[in-house]
């Protein structure tokens, strides 16, 4: 045909190759992440993040109703353990499964987004580096179908 290799074709190939590299890279970069737990400030740092998260939730009209009647102290301890374990720390989450916990709550996308937003804000308040925030989110995302009960 008339078309030879043009700069645009090169750009397109570049985008695809970069995409391939990046998505390929993510498995290798995140699997060797022993310091995520440290970057979150270990269990004590995570406990402060979760506490700030709880304050944000209480102020958030989109989701605070869903937390009514929750035992705050127990919730704080369980979520701290869960994030500690997920980030590679020496903790063990002892609560019920995410699917079981949220089975009757009919969590919407709006509420899920609100919680994600508050978690990001809580991490920002505690100066967790962007990379560490992203790595923790990456570990939490697989819980989405369980929490939304999909």
């Amino acid at each position: 045909m008339r078309r030879v290799i043009r700069p645009h074709t090169v750009v397109m190939i570049f985008i695809f190759v970069m995409t391939g590299l990046m998505t390929g890279c993510q498995t290798s970069t995140t699997s060797q992440s022993p310091d995520l737990y440290d970057q979150l400030g270990q269990r004590s740092g995570i406990a402060v993040i979760v506490e700030d998260l709880l304050f944000l939730i209480v102020d958030d009209g989109r989701i605070n109703q869903s937390f009514r009647g929750v035992n705050v102290e127990q919730f704080h301890r369980l979520l701290t353990d869960q994030l500690c374990e997920l980030s590679g720390g020496p903790c063990h989450y002892t609560g019920r499964s995410m699917r079981e916990l949220h089975a009757d709550m009919a969590i919407t996308d709006t509420q899920f987004n609100a919680l994600t937003e508050n978690l990001i804000l809580a991490m920002e308040q505690n100066r967790v580096p962007t990379g560490a925030q992203n790595r923790l989110l990456r570990k939490l995302i697989p819980l989405y179908p369980d929490i939304r009960n999909l």
Binding site: R2, R6, P7, H8, T9, V11, M12, F14, I15, F16, M18, T19, L21, M22, T23, C25, Q26, T29, T30, R62, T108, D109, T110, F112, N113, A114, T116, E117, I120, T130, G131, A132, N134, R135, L137, R138, I141, P142, Y144
Partner: protein, 291 residues
Amino acid sequence: MIRILACSLLILATLPSAQASEPGSRIWATGGVTSIEGSAGGGLVPWALLSGYASDEEWGGTLSLSQAQVDNYSLTVQAASLNWRNRVELSVARQNLDLDTLVFVLKDGFGLEQDELRQDVFGLKVRLFGDVLYSPWGQWSAGAQYKRQRDFTVADAIGARDDSGTDIYLSGSKVFFASIFDRNLLVNGTVRATRANQGGLLGFGGDRNNGYQFMAEAGAGIFLNRQWLAGMEYRQKPDNLSFADEDDWWDVFVAWVPDRRLSVTAAWVNLGDIATLTDQQGLYLALEGSF
């Protein structure tokens, strides 16, 4: 008109948060920006993301103003969109292409007195399934853009067959968390069926080809943090007119999203040859407000 839009954008952006609630609950920057055809996406390509920040119990929308200043042309676009429950996006865009240099080509070659080409684009996009952040397979949307020329004289003279046309596209977008350097990576692919010449500004169909063709479009961007996204886009184009070769488009962009209300996008765009004028490159700037 432009001044009014710019003012309303600024007012939107500066509304005290006590009075206006947040534009929606989706995470920052997941509405993309407004493309030159009014659909949410990057600058040149529609993405599977729906505009603004409405989540599944909300509605919202955007207003935007953008300008591309390439060597011999300048394109101004005013656009608005509505998003219902992150399911349906309706958009409208008015494009105005200043012909600058081409005015002389048209006068000498065709005896035409025309210094601008104008087009309206009405867009519909439906999110089919998935969420760009939370679904392992990403978010998928289908869309249509009905385009209507407001000045057909030029397109008619150079061999375009129709003064209106509809593009249909399928788009997939996904964010990969903690990708390269632990940054979040946004990837988008779009397939478009189209008969449009230069996006429709030079009409639809032509002597070389008059039917629908499938075009591949792609984009990728890295979130440096939650306020800054940098990346590239590519858009394959048909080549329907023997009057002048039509090239693919690409751009390199940086978007700044200080909060949900406002985004500012700057890009270097390469539109290739347009209506006999070669290698059209230049700066693209866009301002978007969400409500």
